[in-house]
Amino acid sequence: MSVMTYIGAIGAAQQEAMSADERVIIIGEDVEANVYGTTGGGKQRAEKGDFVEQFGQNRIRNTPISEEAIVGTAIGAAMTGLRPIVDLSYSSFLYMAMDQFVNQAAKNRYMFGGQSSIPVVFRSAMFYGLNTGAHHSDRPYPMFMNVPGLKIMAPATASDAKGLLRSAIDSDDPVLTFEAVPLWGQKEEVPDEEYHIPFGVARTHREGSDITIVGISGSLPLALQAADEMEARGVSCEVIDPRTLVPMDTDTIVRSVLKTGRLVIAEPAHRTCGAAAEIAAIVADKAQHALVAPIKRVCALDMQVPFSPVLEREIYPTKERIVAAIEAVCADQLNQVNRRAS
């Protein structure tokens, strides 16, 4: 095991996959100069780790600013022998290529009766909470969850990022990654050998019996902090990260709620029609009889992102908001504890 940052893990997965398979290429804006930090290691081009040095310009390709064409070209390349990784940098830029994602990547295999397979990974990162204003701060993964035919990963830790990205690159279907820039610096122990984490398997970060908390992407660490705090106040929290949103391991979540009877979901996307809505809907179907309290969602508010730091911090989930949600549905436990304490 060695300690790796979240962003380092992404670079490492790309490097391993590029080395393992000649058909893997990386295309995107400014990937040659490693502007976004996942296509190079050293401080200078010549240093070990630089992808252009290692893999050459045939396989590491700067592109024009043409997201729609880049995405479509990668799809076409994937349909004809390559396994491209497209670095789209900001998740906010995905809209430019929406038609290609929905009408080509998601539909071609299905429409053509299985004639094509489309092994392509579209990487993007959610740069939110960084005071860059409304255009650069989006967390648009829920829209893509509404499009059957795409697979979606949203890792919250370094080891998950590495193992899932490797699986994504090895998958024969189009995968979108939604990486979390607020987690870039987070460190975790990561296995030294190459490894894959399968899609559709949630990770239970802590077990508990009073409430299930689902934390997605950048909201997972907040959920864990909230769980710590509530544990100290006598509420036993189970914290689950689905890790992949399509396919999603709803069984693990439902099973947990059947045990705890309570559910809070935290995610950085807008609330309306978000992943939390989907999870709440599934639980309200499959585990309604076990629910002893309302399902609470702690999402980004349905507002655009304001620039000023004093405003922007009002928009996203925080540990405090998650704690408040837990308090709202765990009144019983808290009363008990209070009674015991007094």
Binding site: E68, T73, M79, Q104, F112, Q115, S171, I282
Partner: protein, 334 residues
């Protein structure tokens, strides 16, 4: 200079065969729409056969093609057998896409047809991708993408042309200029000439003024293909042509957007008759030989319709296949 007319006779006759296949296939499809055998929307390439076939015949085995909503001609042009195409239009299990694509979404990977696209313009970068894989993998193939004059106003075309030009990719952008996008005359919504847009993106642009002449189209596309195969990059080819029928079968538009004179002029330039006459005039084939080809293709089309109509419907389970390459738990069957 390439001269298609110096091709071996069997290739010239194959051009005529493919044009006839498109014509008769589409005429038959139109009838089957009227009789209710074919559901949905159908756009024919009747009148544009030379433009399609001249281009496809200029390619080699292993090359790739993407098409558009006017969509049967392209796979036929690439040499796809008619039965599975017609079965697809009818929605049968034997369809080339197992009944899941339909008229707007034909694809036949056997002949390099990567897929037609109901969304106009959407398949353009797919062809660029096929040319990128050729370049990266060092394979000598080229790709072509077909789009209309209306579609030539979509931004994705220029992003694609620019990317292909910057990378010197082996791809051909072929604009099927039939003067209209649905009811909209091209000149009312288009600034400048489409062919003139090539140079600003660093590639040659050629316009085939007589797009009803299959050889003229062949020559232009063959030159572009050779150039691409030599590693010299992409080209734009604009072919002037005309659709003989309404935008789509059964569509009725209350405004007379194409006048009778214009229609008469163009229908007098039938690419199939023109080519037949040319081959006979040049002594390449006799009238009897040409008649025999007519009969041969008539029979092919007859057979494809029979095949389509007699084929079974797809099993319902097919609706739930092919979304992903691996198993997919469909959460949402109630």
């Amino acid at each position: 200079m390439i001269d298609g007319l110096s091709l071996p006779k069997d290739e010239l006759l194959e051009m005529q065969r493919r044009m006839l296949r498109i014509r008769l296939f589409d005429e038959r499809a139109s009838k089957m729409v009227k009789r209710g055998y074919i559901p949905g929307t159908v756009h024919t390439s009747i009148g544009q056969e030379a433009q399609v076939v001249g281009a496809c015949m200029a390619l080699a085995k292993g090359d790739h093609m993407t098409g558009n909503h006017r969509s049967h001609g392209h796979p036929i042009g690439m040499g796809s057998p008619l039965g599975p195409l017609m079965a697809e239009l009818v929605g049968k299990a034997t369809g080339v896409c197992k009944g899941k694509g339909g008229s707007l979404h034909l694809a036949d990977y056997e002949v390099g047809s990567l897929g037609e696209s109901g969304i106009t313009g959407s398949s353009i970068p797919i062809a660029v991708g096929a040319s990128l894989s050729a370049q990266v993998l060092g394979e000598k193939r080229v790709a072509i993408t077909f789009f209309g004059d209306g579609t030539a106003n979509q931004g994705v075309l220029y992003e694609s042309m620019n990317l292909a030009s910057a990378y010197k990719l082996p791809v051909i952008f072929l604009c099927e200029n039939n003067f209209y996008a649905l009811s909209t005359p091209s000149h009312t919504v288009t600034g400048g000439r489409i062919v003139d847009r090539a140079s600003g993106f660093g590639m040659p642009g050629v316009r085939v003024e007589n797009g009803q002449d299959v050889i003229a189209v062949y020559n232009a596309v063959r030159e572009a293909a050779d150039r691409a195969r030599r590693g010299e990059g992409p080209s734009l080819v604009e072919v002037m042509t005309y659709r003989f029928r309404e935008h789509s079968e059964g569509l009725r538009i209350n405004v007379d957007y194409r006048n009778a004179e214009e229609k008469a002029l163009w229908t007098s330039r039938d690419p199939i008759i023109l080519f037949r006459d040319l081959l006979i005039e040049k002594g390449i084939a006799t009238a009897d030989e040409m008649d025999a080809i007519d009969a041969e293709i008539e029979q092919e089309v007859e057979d494809c319709a029979t095949f389509a109509l007699e084929s079974p419907d797809p099993d319902v389970s097919v609706a739930f296949e092919h979304l992903y390459t691996d198993d997919y738990k469909l959460e949402n069957v109630l």
